[in-house]
């Protein structure tokens, strides 16, 4: 399910990113994709904190999940840009 805007309309100076949830995290929150506004200069950790406040059961998401930005594994301090796609990845299980 795609939730177009779970946060208030962004102020002019904000950036807007898409957050995606997978597997257990998507089950937990009941959503797979969230559009979210962040302050300019926001980093991955800020997005995670915002998601934990705003999505259903967000407080059950880990504080330090595995995260990808634009299809690449990313660190907590990676800066975000308008239009980025950030994914919260549950513990991996490929193979």
């Amino acid at each position: 399910m795609h939730v177009p805007a779970t946060t208030p309309a962004a102020p002019a100076s904000s950036i807007r990113v898409t957050a995606r949830l997978f597997a257990q995290y998507a089950e937990l929150a009941g959503v797979e994709s969230v559009s979210i506004a962040l302050a300019p200069g926001a980093v991955v950790a800020d997005l995670v904190a915002a998601l934990r406040r705003t999505v259903p059961n967000g407080e059950l998401l880990p504080e330090r999940p595995l995260v990808a930005v634009n299809l690449s594994h990313a660190r907590a301090d990676q800066p975000l840009s308008d239009g980025d796609e950030i994914a919260l990845l549950p513990p991996l299980a490929g193979g």
Binding site: R20, A68, H73, A74, Q78, G94
Partner: protein, 153 residues
């Protein structure tokens, strides 16, 4: 990635070449074992766009490390019954040492980095999410910058 059964022979053919004297193939299969209980199948899901990108990055790393290498791999998604393959990696190189090393490298990186998740499906239909060992954030190489925890790279 594929939702169909993996064809190892197709992978082997994709890596062949006239100067390559050694091919290794790894196939990971859904197994049933005493410690895991009565698993009938595993359902794999993925962040598919990233899965493709991550495979390409792993291949590029391997080809940089072993310049004459040819590598191909495949992860099956969807429900995979016990005894069927969930992942396969083929590597061809001039000599066997590189072919073994490269195949091992690719499967280890795949397990560590591919955005894939699995649910065990038991004989009674119940399901359980399972993760690979050591598959936390610190196990995955980020693309630069400082991370949480204690990254081992």
């Amino acid at each position: 990635m594929t939702r169909q059964p993996i064809e190892p022979l197709g992978l082997l053919r994709r890596v062949g070449g006239p100067g390559l004297g050694a091919v290794t193939l790894f196939v990971g299969l859904v197994r049933r074992s005493a410690e895991d209980g009565p698993v009938a199948a595993i359902e794999y899901t993925a962040y598919e766009a990233m899965l493709a990108a991550e495979w390409e990055r792993i291949f590029a790393e391997a080809e940089q490390r072993w310049p004459e290498l040819r590598v191909a791999a495949c992860h099956r998604l969807g429900v995979v019954p016990v005894g069927e393959a969930s992942i396969a990696v083929a590597a061809a190189a001039p000599h066997r040492a590189e072919a073994f090393a490269a195949c091992r490298y690719v499967i280890e990186e795949a397990k560590r980095r591919l955005p894939v998740w699995k649910q065990e499906i038991f004989d009674d239909g119940t399901r359980r999410w399972r993760a690979n060992q050591a598959a936390g954030p610190e196990a995955v190489p980020p693309q630069g910058g400082e991370g949480w925890g204690s990254p081992s790279f």
